[in-house]
Symmetry: C3
Subunit: 464 residues, 3 copies
């Protein structure tokens, strides 16, 4: 029924990659990674030395609830969002689980070298904020997975994640530390980068005969309901995503509020456009599952700024429209004319809203005033690390950051796409795409029918 | 197969309502809504001016974890609880998503005008507590949705939500601010009001020929499992619901504890009664999905009071019995004799337990003593805003509040029911109720059968 | 189609047990259980008397987010993990709900008598930490449920829970209070005990003719996806489980971090071994659903210690391998040769990793040094309650604790197994195992087929 180019590779490739890479992680963690001062037993001494009044000032208590929400988004949110395909739910949720688990370890190292290296002893010191950032870094790769869902093997996904995390860490370092742009919810750093990375890979891996799998490239009733679990957990916890690493106090408070509002607004315009462009005014589950999230993406950069509640609603309003129209017109166009096969429509959910988010961030930054942001406020610290930054300059930096994210995404994607085209990764044949069968032990569905019905069917067949 | 009275309306009605209303929200938010002092960039200055020692005193950290739990209850809890119908899961979770997203924006405005208006500049100042209250307000409308599930169109639901939120805000203002009753978990304000609002609407929209949809008014195996996702997330996070806006410190602590206990007790009596009243002692999933939650409803008002742990257990004990008996006897009776068709049985899950909750609250308040509540305690502050309030008087106020909630529910429901009977909303024909088909693009189920089985069936049919 | 030995018992047994036991709980709670000082209205006075600066120092704010995560693990995590069987999803999630709800009440009493008894008035004073510990205690019984899933009645499960909680509380008291071992995440106290308790019961209830239910002892496609909901919520929230009752500050911080890392590592080795030992390198959902969690179990005891990030990865690495190999080789061996039928494979997920966790804890404790743990640190307080404890001695105590856990599990399981063999509990016949049919009202599946398909089938049959 299906044939793999290399059965031995399939048998040995995935286990070998997993074991070797995990062993490498252990060694690198052994050499480089230690607890930071807030997760180390010496915290109590540090606390007293620094005159910190209470354990509750440990960053853990400011960020752990947000971390857990982000964690749910990564594993249940992304995982279940992709279960919509009728016969690829195991691959969706299972491979998402695998690459996220590898990715977060590699991200702790890569981001650690850039951001958390203690030069006194050459060790990376980690705590709760590193855990959140590692999850963020993984999100970029999971977005990219959406573009190639059902068309690549587990080993290809792991390779894609290895390079994706590496590129992400460099891009993030350039954007946050060299350019000094701000991007709390990662509209640029995570979504724009991740989406263009995935789309470029999908373009490099173009399959002209993918229509052979048309039969499987759709949903069934219950797989769409499973996907709604992913949608809702992403939607509900997005305020935590955008506020997880913002400043304590008003920074986290405002980021959560802005995101909450933007997302609510997106739902209404998504429903409107979905209904308007379907026959008989029906709603399309693909739009409800995906475009309702666009507002959270687009408000990522500006969520911590003084975007104002109505500003958040406007961002969400526009993104619901643009994202849904993207599903209606752009995705078919891209597949037909640009040779980009985008299984989950990440161009509509992450790329366009991410770019919008970058632009909104640049405009908000450029129009900042001291009366709005206060003299002591550290949230939108347009004096940043150097005294002569003026708001318009910060706006320019934000725009530059957006360009960096796009370039890293496209360039990195093409590079990694070339690597993934090597015929050694055991990717599925065209008529095996979107099918769990080649990679998973599947249960025998015949027996799913309750015995009483089996009996009835048996009788009925007999009678005829 | 089905016919809509007005195809054009269906095509244009929903998009028009969504776009226009969302635009109105943006304008109203622009005119009225601003950040409050804890979510504004000037927080750091405020903090220093008010001598607040730490960012952790920002209300965000006291309430955000509870907010996220409540948010999950609203979108996953209510949404999935209603997926039990075999062919209405898209409508259940999708429309729930739509009306909650609209409702929370409208609630921020309505509740804001009554509770958070800053008279110095005429703006509503919002923060985390407003977000929670908006979600609460939405809960009232989602409860009402349960009564009419599968029998109304999306536009009707939006109209129902618009009026529901408006009525809720007025009712809440009367109960909390004029009567000075307390209702932390909203037994009266949310559940009693929401349930009678929904039941009255369902009564006004009575469909004598609904039995034409009998074929679809039931569950299938997996839709019942989906509904359990909703049940469990409601059940687990109910302690957060009842404690989300109670006083800091012991108030939140006690409310969570009481709710946790009441819910545990309800599960056992629900199982007992369900088994007792079925043939062969079998359990009925409808009871397990719904009646297990009744304890959380009934303990809503008194959760923050000194109800005592055994008091919580007693409340839960009674509600499990009453609610399950309601499903067995009352729901069929109401449908047959009172012409109230209650799809989800909200009378058993919200109306009766809500009324019990109001009564329990009144009794607990009336029997309060200074030795139990302390002189400094602010949780059950029976001196409230005026010094001469005595416990028995507070008990009377609680009882008065319950009456207000019922009146608003019934009266408002009849009024809105009249509006919804206008023949312009595109509601489904009797034989299209409980069916996603008229409103959603549905996947083609034939292809759900794995290819190997399709082949087998093909062969089998051939042989015959 | 099926016969129950005693229909009357089935009709009356379960309701009677639920009502009587719940009534007993109310009476015992009335006699014994009161709020502790942090959940009582007198908190504000206590706070001032003890010079506590802020409400945020109420233990509620340190632990409530973790509590809610643990709560999700107990009800959704364990509940959905067991829904993998094709026709036992109602029993899995429903009975899990029932026994957890009873268990947590009984656990509050049992653990309260040992740990939270206020000798001044003979009352048990409860708060957030008791709620977490009650959930932990329940976890032990739910683990045991995994071994007998599908083969026992609800009444048997309740009996098993009653005794399980009782044994747990005694075992926990011996390990934590008499031996003075530490076991924050319960590798020994919860997992080792619970697993051996369940396995011993399963051994006592051995069914030689269980193969009559072979037809039902497997999954279907969507039941495996449901089970992944359980897996992921357990996996994601395990850091909260292991850190929920550890010390404030660095203790909770470090426990969460270690668990996060161990679990990530486990996923990779589970995938590797699963793929390596299947035909064509395919992955097996049973392994992905279960073995990926083994790292969380094994790091339970040592999570709060200075295990170091690489140490956590190593523990996860080993457990993924051992647990998956257990599913491949050990479970069939145990069923065939040891007469232990372990439905969910708890020996691989809880017993072996739990024992490993105990050993890792003993080694980590034995090798503790003052330079690593600090003089003031209270996390690994090897001076404990008596000054002369040295690390090696603490290591010995940890090892002794592990033995106690195993003995209580095996001994208690055999005892309770004897009780459960009495022919009065209405357990299912061999050919009714793994089937919801005897205990639940099941929906009529015929109607699940959308009408259009029914029509097609009808036509097709007619033509032939």
């Amino acid at each position: 029924m299906f044939s793999l180019c290399d059965d031995t590779l399939q048998n040995v490739g995935l286990p070998a990659v997993c074991i070797v890479w995990q062993t490498a992680m252990i060694i690198l963690f052994g050499v480089f990674i230690r607890y930071n001062e807030e997760s180390d037993t010496h915290w109590i001494e540090q606390r007293k030395a620094k005159n910190i009044s209470s354990d509750v000032e440990n960053d853990f208590y400011y960020r752990y609830p947000s971390f857990q929400d982000v964690h749910v988004m990564i594993f249940v949110g992304f995982g279940f969002l992709m279960t919509f395909l009728k016969r690829y739910s195991f691959g969706a949720v299972g491979y998402n689980f695998l690459i996220a688990s590898f990715g977060l370890q590699w991200a702790l190292l890569m981001q650690g070298w850039f951001h958390s290296l203690d030069y006194s002893d050459g060790k990376i010191k980690i705590g709760i904020e590193n855990m959140i950032n590692a999850d963020f870094c993984v999100a970029g790769c999971l977005i990219a997975y959406g573009a190639v869902l059902g068309k690549v093997s587990a080993v290809q996904l792991l390779v894609m994640t290895l390079f994706g995390i590496t590129l992400f860490a460099v891009e993030e370092y350039i954007i946050l530390d060299l350019i000094h742009a701000r991007d709390a919810g990662g509209s640029m750093v995570i979504h724009t980068f991740g989406a263009y990375y995935g789309l470029s890979i999908s373009w490099m891996l173009y399959r002209p005969n993918l229509n052979q799998s048309d039969r499987l490239q759709g949903s069934v009733y219950h797989s769409d309901v499973f996907a709604m679990i992913g949608t809702l957990f992403l939607w509900m916890f997005w305020p935590s995503f955008n506020s997880a690493v913002t400043d304590h106090g008003d920074g986290q408070h405002r980021a959560a509020l802005n995101t909450y509002l933007a997302l609510a607004s997106t739902v209404l315009t998504t429903v409107a456009i979905s209904s308007l462009f379907q026959k008989h005014g029906k709603l399309d589950m693909v739009h409800i599952q995906n475009s309702t999230l666009a507002g959270g993406v687009a408000v990522g950069t500006a969520a911590e700024f003084m975007l104002m509640p109505y500003g958040s609603l406007i961002v969400g309003f526009c993104c619901g429209i643009i994202s849904t129209l993207g599903y209606v017109y752009l995705t078919p166009f891209m597949e037909k004319h640009l040779k980009i096969q985008d299984t989950c429509g990440i161009h509509n959910l992450h790329a366009m809203p991410g770019v919008i988010g970058g632009i909104v961030g640049a405009i908000t930054a450029a129009t900042a005033t001291e009366s709005v942001y206060g003299v002591e406020g550290n949230t939108f610290d347009f004096d940043g690390d150097f005294k002569d930054t003026v708001p318009t300059r910060q706006g320019g930096l934000q725009a530059a950051a957006l360009c960096v994210a796009i370039c890293f995404g496209v360039g990195g994607g093409i590079l990694v796409g070339c690597i993934l085209r090597l015929p050694i990764w055991g990717d599925p044949a065209d008529d095996n795409c979107f099918d769990d069968e080649p990679y998973w032990e599947l249960p025998d569905e015949e027996e799913a029918i309750p015995p009483i019905l089996q009996y009835n069917n048996h009788m009925r067949n007999k009678d005829m």
